[in-house]
Symmetry: C2
Subunit: 299 residues, 2 copies
Amino acid sequence: MNIGIIGGGAIGLLCASYLSQHHDITVLTRRKEQAEEIRTSGIKRTVKGETFRASAEARAGITGVFDLLIVTVKYHHLQEVLDELSTLPRQRILFLQNGMAHLLDLENWDTSHSIYIGVVEHGAMKVSDHAVNHTGIGVIKWGAFHPEDTADVRNALYETPAHFQMIYTDEWKRVLEEKLLVNVCINPLTALLHVKNGELIANPAYEYMMKCAFEEALSILGLAEEERLWSHVVSICKKTAANQSSMLQDIVKGRETERKAIVGYLLKKAQAQEIMTPHLTFFNRSLEVLEKKQTKSFE
Amino acid sequence: MNIGIIGGGAIGLLCASYLSQHHDITVLTRRKEQAEEIRTSGIKRTVKGETFRASAEARAGITGVFDLLIVTVKYHHLQEVLDELSTLPRQRILFLQNGMAHLLDLENWDTSHSIYIGVVEHGAMKVSDHAVNHTGIGVIKWGAFHPEDTADVRNALYETPAHFQMIYTDEWKRVLEEKLLVNVCINPLTALLHVKNGELIANPAYEYMMKCAFEEALSILGLAEEERLWSHVVSICKKTAANQSSMLQDIVKGRETERKAIVGYLLKKAQAQEIMTPHLTFFNRSLEVLEKKQTKSFE
């Protein structure tokens, strides 16, 4: 296929690098400089100490017609991308955002494009404008946002490299919800407490607070299987004990976090259902304060 | 009496200004410049728009013998002051710190000084090195840390200005505990959420979190009368709805907060009694993170 990848962050570069083995790739970046760098240097991918180089087309701006467009920008840049996509001819678009807030935007998006949703279970770190480190090998699970015939895309994506499988599922919403549940348990707390993931289960007081967040999220999402899901959250804390969560890294580096995509979505859903969410409300506001801490003024 | 006042902050200047009407005052400052300024300009006190000037002796360092020494420094500077007081001849010392952590230090202090504890219920803002704004007229309640004859000091402090009463009470510990309870409900939350005091009862989610802190503190302090005390906390939020708590002001101004004197004391007491305090533990750690936010490194 002719695949366009919107966004040159860690996930964008990772997708471009692997998918270039079976497809023609164009990376659509925001900055001209990055597009130039990708065109001239290719994309460098490091996985388990080994380095691979992939070549890809690249240009700044969102233009053209593709067999598939993959949107990899963070949620807080999604709205600008949707506005630009609205001007393009009808095509297939796969959205790979974290959290679930983008579903609300996509529901309200008046478009004739075919929309797919994917959940990225890889770990990746951007090293430079043309280099990415594949730190955790997972899969991408994806499905159609609206019921439709997905046979061609499924066939085209069937053949993927071993370290980069694209798994079709009708259960994509459930997958997204379980990932959101893990994210809302681990991300805000590690950012506010400035601790690594493992600390959340090593300190009983922190684990209690995580359980409070978990229970509020579970009730908002209407999920059953409380016991299995809590074990799942705890097991992720164990497996990633030595990691700094992405939200903690964002706070430390003074970047905008994915607060709105994760906690913000749940709070919106809670409000619509009139569910009381004191802990999530508190996390949301104090994360916002922590993000803005550089501006010391009180409005 | 010949009264020495240790510390030239808001409370130190306030005490010096009022007590100078019936006593000889010496302000003992840390910085030479402040002592010089007080000696040459006197102390300016503004209350309800009116300004008064008091004259006082002042010098840097803690030396001399007084009929009464009043220690007004914040808790996080107390240890240095105790070390210096240990070298002085036996005298009467009144401690006016916020929180209750200083009680633990005083219990462990091997000294022959007579120790009194006071609870300041005034509002005061330091305007300059020799000027203070008396923003809230209250009283100081005080008592003896160890049982002893307090007749002379009580008599000497009996005559005080109308706006600066010194009320003796055997129940000083109870007064301190109720003030601590109010402080631990209002201070950490307003600082973490960056809101004024009234917001804690205007937003049901914030009020719920305040109730969680309240219940943990109540259990640690072993206080009964839950209903009366909760109404008391809520009434203070109402009365001070438009105020920024001292902890919020400290965070906004990048100063060290009274976290250790307030939350730290309760956590120590909880640990000794093996009481579970997830919310206070969380507030303590995230306040620490917020205080240190300027250094963006992850240790």
